[in-house]
Symmetry: C2
Subunit: 190 residues, 2 copies
């Protein structure tokens, strides 16, 4: 998606430790017009596919998933990373290792909000090692529901996550796929 | 706002410990059509007021703030509760005590995303003790920016937060104000 690629090229900052800083439009300050355009692109890509619910994970995925929820006209469920009093009773949970934060955490979704009839589109901002996405897919499968596919904003295509998810047969549509990046520049894969 | 009050009456569950469970449409499964209607109501209430940016706090505020960002056509910034590699450099921070989680935490916003020219609408799902809202207002003031007002989904009007914020001169518009609630029922204030 050229609009997103251009924003990454013009504003993104590559930092040491394989970090792409896009907090000026994607994961701290949220450019809602861009989010809307991304949501419409996911809608175009999944045209003809059935989606009854969107699933994302707190916190960076929520904003773009909310706009996708509007465009797909379905409710949006977000997995929680911490045990909270807002969520109780029976939950589906999955353990996810975060390379960003260098620790394992448990993601949770209330059982009452996913049913075997659901066709789920999973939305997230980044795909790198794929651990969060595999955790979300695991939760959908625990519910007996179907994963229609995944909508990712930025995929680090040189990392193993994309292959790890696609090799399970799950469709992944990433709006910007980075083939390589360094402080000298970013190259996209098309 | 009758639409929100009806949802609270029909689906909300009052639990011991002053908990109103609304995770089935507001803070776990997100009803995006409801969010859109709430955003349009905040827009109507703040008609004629200048808003250049929306500020919220992770995680439950993000979805409704994203829809408000679309309706107001402004970017949305969310304060982070944890130190993360997505946010570095200079930050505005404020300490907030959470009665829900019974601990103090620090909320942070990158300095580069708030400027003295900003007219900020602050959005959050709940107003009870007001600690989170006062922390967000503190951050806006640290930036030298102006708080146009606050847009809250559900205010527990029997708790001190609403008065604590309004007494500082900041406008607060809550879409549902609960005068009293118990397991026997919920009474709204109009």
């Amino acid at each position: 998606m050229k609009l997103l690629e251009d924003r990454i090229l013009n504003e993104g900052v590559v930092k040491s430790g394989d970090i792409l800083k896009v907090d000026m439009f994607l994961n701290h300050l949220m450019d809602i017009r861009l989010y809307r355009a991304m949501a419409e692109e996911w809608k175009r890509l999944y045209e003809g596919e059935e989606v009854t619910k969107i699933l994302t994970i707190e916190a960076s995925g929520i904003g773009m998933a909310a706009l996708a929820g509007e465009v797909f006209d379905v409710p949006v469920l977000f997995a929680k990373k911490a045990q909270t009093s807002n969520i109780d009773g029976d939950v589906y949970s999955s353990k996810v290792f975060s390379y960003t934060h260098n620790r394992e955490y448990t993601i949770r979704v209330s059982k009452q909000f996913l049913s075997p009839e659901d066709k789920v589109l999973i939305i997230d901002d980044f795909l790198a090692n794929g651990k969060a996405l595999l955790g979300l897919i695991d939760i959908v499968h625990q519910a007996g529901a179907t994963v229609t596919g995944c909508g990712i904003a930025i995929e680090k295509a040189y990392q193993p996550g994309g292959e790890a998810v696609r090799s399970t047969g799950v469709r992944v549509e990433s709006l910007a796929k980075i083939k390589e990046m360094s402080e000298d520049g970013i190259v996209f894969e098309h």
